[in-house]
Amino acid sequence: MSLDDDQVLIQKILAGKRASFEELMKKHNKRIFGYIYRMVRDEDVAIELTQDFFLKLYHVLDKYNFEYKFTTWAYRICYNMVIDHVRKNPAHIESLENDTIIPKLMDSENYVKEDTLDDLVKEEIREYTWSVVNRIPPKFRELILMRYLQELKYEEIADITQLPVGTVKNRLFKAKEMLKTELEKDGVLK
């Protein structure tokens, strides 16, 4: 069995090399924090949850099965932590579940779309798209984040969420349709 980069690091950590854990954390921090932050949309909560995630990861690392891909296993822990957090914070659930997409930037009725928006360079479209991601309902948002931010495959997402692959795919299509509609409404995509 050949080991990938993550698995080599895990072997070193299990052998007692602390620096390897730091390396593993550095490697995945961006994708873990990015996911949590965009799900809970509160920096302090996101920091705390990310810390909890890495602490938990360290303590259950000896239970990791090398036959599975590390990211699928670890990101599932992260996914469940966010779900637990939302469950334990009903106030949070409400704000998330009742969340409707509210276009913020270009919402005025007689907005001069034509020339102003021609100036929206690719970079701005990208920034804007990702700000809209934060506003779509959580059950769609989490899939977009797993697919594009954590760069997981349909099968991996299905493993993590325990959903059939077909459902994952359909929900992702639906999520992208929502994003497209929003961006069209905001005049970002023409």
Binding site: R18, F21, E22, M25, K26, N29, K30, I32, F33, G34, Y37, R38, E43, I47, T50, Q51, F54, L55, Y58, K122, I125, R126, E127, T129, W130, V133, I144, R147, Y148, L149, N170, F173, K176, E177, L179, K180, L183, E184, L189, K190
Partner: protein
Amino acid sequence: MACLNETKIQDYIEGGLTAVERSLVRDHLIVCAKCNASYQRYEKLEKSLGEPVYITPPLIIERNVLRMLFPRIPSYSSIFALLAASFLLLVTSIYIYFDFANNSIVQAFQLTSHDTSNWLGSIIKAISTIFSTVYVIFKAINAFFEVIFKVNMGVEIIGLCMLLLLSWSFYLLSRLVFKKIKGSN
């Protein structure tokens, strides 16, 4: 062919259709401006999503996690070494403060040691000898500075500097010794 639904367009972009379906979609995209526009938007969206905007995680996360997992406990060797060095610093500074001018403590020590012939007397004798020697060295250094740099720093200042230097090296030395002792256990 009827207009394409959203799923069809997305499937086409992901390459998830059969060859026949693909060519049908391709043909329709050429003739239908509406579907083509929709397709273009999906392409743009896909491109934007493909380059995620990452939020840089605050550094505090890694720092806190590492601190919680691997707390840094000061080693016994450094605590012992610090105590020993502080003791040396304290005793010597008291001596310098009270006695450098007239050497009375040294004399008192010597007197005491004459009377007591036991091990305590020998220790006091040894300490006073060390102090007198150190004093002579300080004086010599002071004289040296006076000749070379034409400044009289005073034995006290020299003493203090030497003392700090001495306690620091003593600290390092003790740490090394304590570490060795601990290591051999």
